[in-house]
């Protein structure tokens, strides 16, 4: 009889130990994920530890769904033009009216060109997109340029006549020696060094990127 009781206690002891370790690990990782999204870390830890309470697992489930679909403070930081590492924010104060992501708006057909920035913190660099079939010089003037398969009608459009390129496809942003790219929901997609750039990623700094894929076209990013 004593052996059975000892075995049961041992079984529940081991199970409880693994459950406790799992809860601590999950809480720690949830803490880090919440911080990366811009929330206080204790929110993730608290949501995870709710599993241990009598409420059960239903509350963390609901919170996971809410977390997935709510707006994160990180998005607001990027929208305010304070992108963190890997994000994009133009160098120097913007002189033109800025869009929701803190970038000069693209002038539409017949629209006025955005005025040049008051100051540049870095000298202008010339970027060139080179593929086997074509070579495209990215304008050196600061501003946003629409990449489209349609014929360019303004100076703010870069036409790439290819069926895999959308109309529009992406937006290239030049700010001094920096180059940014934002996918505009194109079907062919945009890839930076092999990584897919999605519209929800917003503008990304690609100044140091090596390769760029727009639709089916693979480009090398050259600088001069």
């Amino acid at each position: 009889m004593g052996v059975e009781i000892a075995a049961l206690l041992g079984f529940f002891g081991v199970t409880g130990f693994f459950a406790a370790v799992g809860a601590v690990l999950a809480g720690w990782m949830a803490w880090r994920i919440c911080e990366k999204a811009g929330f206080p870390g204790w929110m993730g830890l608290g949501a995870t530890l709710l599993i241990l309470t009598g409420v059960g697992a239903i509350i963390p489930f609901v919170l996971l769904w809410v977390f997935a679909y709510m707006r994160w403070p990180r998005d607001d930081e990027f929208a305010a033009g304070h992108a963190g590492a890997g994000g994009w924010s133009p160098a120097g104060p913007p002189a033109a009216p800025v869009s929701a992501r803190g970038l000069p708006p693209v002038a539409g057909p017949g629209g006025a060109l955005p005025p040049p920035p008051r100051s540049l913190s870095a000298p202008a660099a010339r970027f060139r997109l080179v593929s086997d079939r074509m070579s495209i010089d990215v304008p050196t003037m600061d501003g946003a340029y629409l990449v489209t398969a349609a014929p360019a009608t303004t100076a703010q459009e870069l036409s790439i006549a290819d069926p895999s390129i959308g109309t529009p496809h992406a937006r290239l942003m030049v700010a001094g020696a920096r180059l940014g790219l934002e996918d505009l929901g194109s079907a062919g997609g945009s890839f930076v060094d092999g990584a897919r750039l999605l519209p929800e990623h917003g503008p990304r700094d690609i100044s140091t990127a090596q390769t760029l894929r727009l639709g089916a076209l693979e480009f090398r990013l050259e600088r001069s």
Binding site: W65, F67, E200
Partner: protein, 80 residues
């Protein structure tokens, strides 16, 4: 009267199917929101399919999100 072994095998098969269905349902409830979280973080949504791994799937997905640099950028307010 059915053979007890056959009865046990049948019961086991039904239990296994029910367990698999429950596991798939639970995984689906986790995969849908996690897919979106992974996409927003800049990862492929397919990372969330690790939830299909019984037992440790949740921890794999959490570890990827917690300990990797998010390609889509992270908040600058970490550790404040």
């Amino acid at each position: 009267m059915a053979d007890p072994v056959s009865w046990l095998l049948g019961f086991g098969a039904i239990a296994l199917v029910l367990f698999l269905l429950f596991h798939l349902l639970l995984a689906l409830l986790l995969i849908v929101p996690t897919w979106r979280i992974c996409r927003r973080a800049g990862f492929s949504g397919a990372v969330s399919l690790f939830h299909l791994v019984p037992g440790i799937g949740l921890f794999i997905v959490l570890a990827v999100l917690a300990f990797s640099q998010w390609p889509a950028g992270e908040s600058r307010r970490q550790g404040l």
